[in-house]
């Protein structure tokens, strides 16, 4: 079984009339997919969000198990064999590197897959080192996986797959969860790896422009079944660019346009930080270092800077969710909270919820109920709203954020874009005067991106203060009235 691993051969892929229905769902996730890939072909897989791209990649990786996870039709063959029986020929890298790493040390993590495949002890460490070199991993084998940056973790995850020498490499939005610097490093590593390998490649990526030079063919999945387009990237984007962009794909030359509105003059200050800083237990430095900044009515403030500068922590401080280690964060009377207590972090939850809305980076952290409708009612009810007023507000938000068809769905079962819209909706449900958002546009498709930017602009124009912690230059360009750049570590 291990012999065919030592010589990596590119895999031929044959998908015929394939479809998949998740257990317990009525609709097919995918249906009628026919796709043939010659060994060594490099393909970009496209389609609107929710069309089943990840499901198809999982099927190619042989990870879909019809006996417990769903129902299938048609076949997925790698070199003529069912994908599930030749799983070792394919290697899949996912979006979230944190979830892909298994062991505490980098070298052990890469070795883990080799051990599982029964590679002899004498060959394991040379293959580990080779894989770490191939992805440009900057640390030694003993590096702690938990201390790595996102870009380093993702390169390590890639090394863990490359060490297994797959004949078919599958990449599922591998840069979507990374900051721009980390994403650039991973793309460079990918370019190097692909130049040195002749493996077949299927990749899914929202941000198409950044990977165009890595692929020679683009395949677009059609919602409801089959393929919408198949051909060279130039011809596919030439013919279907506008349609793809409308469905949320970041197509080069079709980037979403948001008309930049001139802000009204900034109003009175609502929250201000005075030399506020915070030091995490055991940390050597303060992140952020002493920062003074004010948040005013009708103004959009962008907080930018490299990873580790303390942007997210500053957001927590400005939202009253963290007590500053030094300095202070205070609310003015204009914010409308308790009159006798200016220190924001001492406010009760029900005072905070009607004055400051917070959108967390991970939407799942802030969901507390079992349906979208109930989720939207939490804030207004805690803020003391009467039942009919709460119900009316919930309906209004469901419409405004296109959540009405999902009103009775469990928040945890929503797609990434839907979760983001819901988390923003819950934060603005009480019409707070300040909205603090942490990476609101992170990993979103083009359609959700445009909707979020327009919504935030509306909120600003209504006279609210909007704080955005972000790496997204396009968001800053489209919306920020003022930018606070935190210095890096």
């Amino acid at each position: 079984m291990t012999n065919d691993l030592s010589e990596p051969r590119p895999v031929q892929v044959d998908v015929r009339g394939w479809g998949w229905r998740h257990a317990g769902r009525r609709a097919w996730a995918l249906r009628g997919v026919d796709l043939h890939l010659e060994p060594g072909e490099r393909v970009l897989l496209l389609g609107p969000s929710g069309v089943g791209k990840s499901t198809l990649l999982a099927a190619l990786a042989g990870l879909l198990d019809p006996s417990d996870a769903g129902e299938h039709e048609g076949t997925v063959l790698l070199d003529g064999q069912p994908a599930r029986s030749v799983r070792h020929r394919a290697g899949l890298v996912l979006q979230d590197p944190e979830a892909a790493l298994v062991m505490a040390r980098a070298g052990d993590d890469v070795a883990f897959g080799l051990e599982n495949r029964g590679v002899p002890t004498g060959q394991i460490w040379s293959r580990v080192d080779e894989a770490l070199r191939a992805v440009g991993f900057p640390h030694g084998r003993a590096a702690a996986t938990s201390a790595l940056s996102g870009g380093e973790q993702q390169r390590l995850a890639l090394a863990g797959i490359l060490a297994l020498r797959p004949g078919l490499l599958l990449l599922d939005e591998v840069t979507a969860n990374l900051d721009p610097a980390g994403a650039a490093l991973v793309r460079r590593a990918l370019a190097d790896v692909l130049a040195a390998s002749d493996a077949t490649l299927v990749m899914v990526e929202h941000r198409v422009a950044s990977v165009l030079d890595l692929v020679e063919r683009a395949v677009v999945l059609e919602p409801g079944g089959g393929l919408l387009a198949d051909g060279s990237p130039e011809s596919v984007f030439g013919r279907h660019g506008a349609a793809l962009a409308a469905r949320g794909v970041w197509v080069p030359g079709h980037e979403p346009v948001v008309r930049r509105r001139a802000p009204a003059a900034a109003g009175p200050v609502l929250v201000s930080a005075d030399a506020a800083s915070f030091r995490y237990p055991g940390a050597v430095r303060e992140t952020p270092a002493a920062t003074s900044v004010s948040v005013a009515r009708g103004e959009a403030l962008a907080v930018t800077g490299p990873n580790g500068a303390g942007k997210s922590t500053l957001a927590l401080l400005l939202a009253g969710l963290l007590r500053p280690g030094a300095g202070t964060v205070s609310a003015t009377a204009q914010l409308g909270g308790p009159r006798d207590e200016p220190r924001l972090w001492r406010w009760r939850g029900r005072d905070l919820v009607r004055t400051v809305g917070t959108v967390f980076q991970d939407p799942e952290h802030q969901f507390v109920t079992a349906t979208v409708r109930a989720e939207l009612a939490v804030g207004p009810r805690r803020a003391g709203g009467a039942a009919p007023a709460v119900a009316a507000r919930v309906e209004e938000l469901l419409e405004r954020l296109r959540l009405a068809p999902l009103a009775d769905a469990n928040p945890f079962t929503l797609s990434g874009g839907e979760k983001r819209r819901l988390s923003v909706a819950t934060a603005i449900a009480t019409a707070p005067r300040v909205l603090v958002t942490d990476e609101p546009t992170f990993g979103q498709d083009a359609r959700t991106w445009r909707e979020l930017v327009e919504l935030l602009a509306d909120l600003r124009d209504e006279g609210r203060a909007v704080v955005m912690v972000t790496h997204d230059d396009a968001l800053v360009a489209a919306l920020a009235d003022r930018e606070l750049v935190l210095a890096g570590p």
Binding site: R87, V102, R117, T121, R348
Partner: protein, 266 residues
């Protein structure tokens, strides 16, 4: 939580590099020797030997005490309970419904010493052993199922993330207006629902981790190979032999002094 965190051992120390299974065997030998003993002499001799060799294990006594004092305290609590429950001999202290007797005091000291002498080797083993080495050794030497050993090892890596989740979920709930205020019932309910939320987050992480392990061939029934062999060397055999000798010595001295007594009955 601080008890669970490693005691920052010097991984280069000779003791740390011994086969984890040998260290575990030595600790089990001490445990077996003391489980059958009911007198105070045997455990005090063994505890004295353990403290004498502690410096050679690379664990610093001060660090050990600072990190394990809750454990020492709870062991003392057990001993006090024992003191009150066991009766016999002369009454030393009349506490009304419960008396402290000479038999009770003797039994309490024996229990306290026994528990300390049993737990100390266990703590030292954990403190000086990398969890990865432990899993490797258990799989290679004791044929523990890899699914269990490496599954538990990978899950261990998620523990610190759990603490981070707890904090973030707590903040997110405050942002949503959910804090308990002064009502103790409200506090309890909020605590319960936050525990549930963190549990849900932990399960989701666990499912993702299991999928990541499966994607790298962890579930295949084929033969696994070994990246880090854990051989049993002469030093490992010496360690086990020494632990046997120490238990035999302490028991022999206690018997010779006429103080040895079995733990149960008698």
């Amino acid at each position: 939580m601080s008890v669970l965190a490693p005691l920052a051992p010097d991984t280069g120390a000779r003791f740390a590099r011994l086969n984890p299974v040998a260290k575990l065997t030595a600790a089990i030998v001490v445990l077996a020797g003391l489980v059958i003993t009911g007198d105070p002499v045997t455990p005090s001799l063994l505890l004295a030997i353990e403290l004498a060799v502690l410096p050679f294990t690379g664990v610093r006594a001060a660090t050990l005490l600072r990190r394990t004092w809750p454990l020492v305290l709870s062991v003392a609590g057990l001993a006090v309970t024992n003191m009150i429950v066991v009766n016999g001999g002369s009454v030393l202290l009349d506490l009304g419904p419960a008396d402290v007797t000479s038999r009770g005091l003797e039994s309490a000291i024996a229990v306290w010493l026994r528990l300390l002498a049993i737990t100390l080797p266990g703590i030292v083993v954990l403190a000086t052993t990398d969890p990865m080495d432990m899993a490797d050794a258990l799989v290679q030497r004791w044929h523990a199922p890899p699914r269990f050993a490496y599954g538990a090892l990978a899950a261990l890596r998620l523990l610190p993330l759990l603490a981070a989740d707890w904090q973030m979920i707590g903040r997110a709930r405050r942002a949503r207006g959910l804090d308990a205020g002064r009502s103790p019932v409200g506090r309890l309910r909020l605590f319960g629902s936050q525990v549930f939320a963190v549990l849900v987050a932990a399960i989701r992480r666990g499912v993702r981790l299991a999928a990541a392990m499966e994607a790298r061939g962890f579930d295949t029934s084929g033969e696994r190979s070994v990246a880090r062999p854990q051989p049993v060397r002469a030093a490992d055999r010496w360690l086990v032999a020494s632990s046997l000798a120490a238990v035999a010595l302490a028991t022999a001295v206690s018997v010779a002094l006429g103080s040895w007594a079995p733990a149960f009955g008698g």
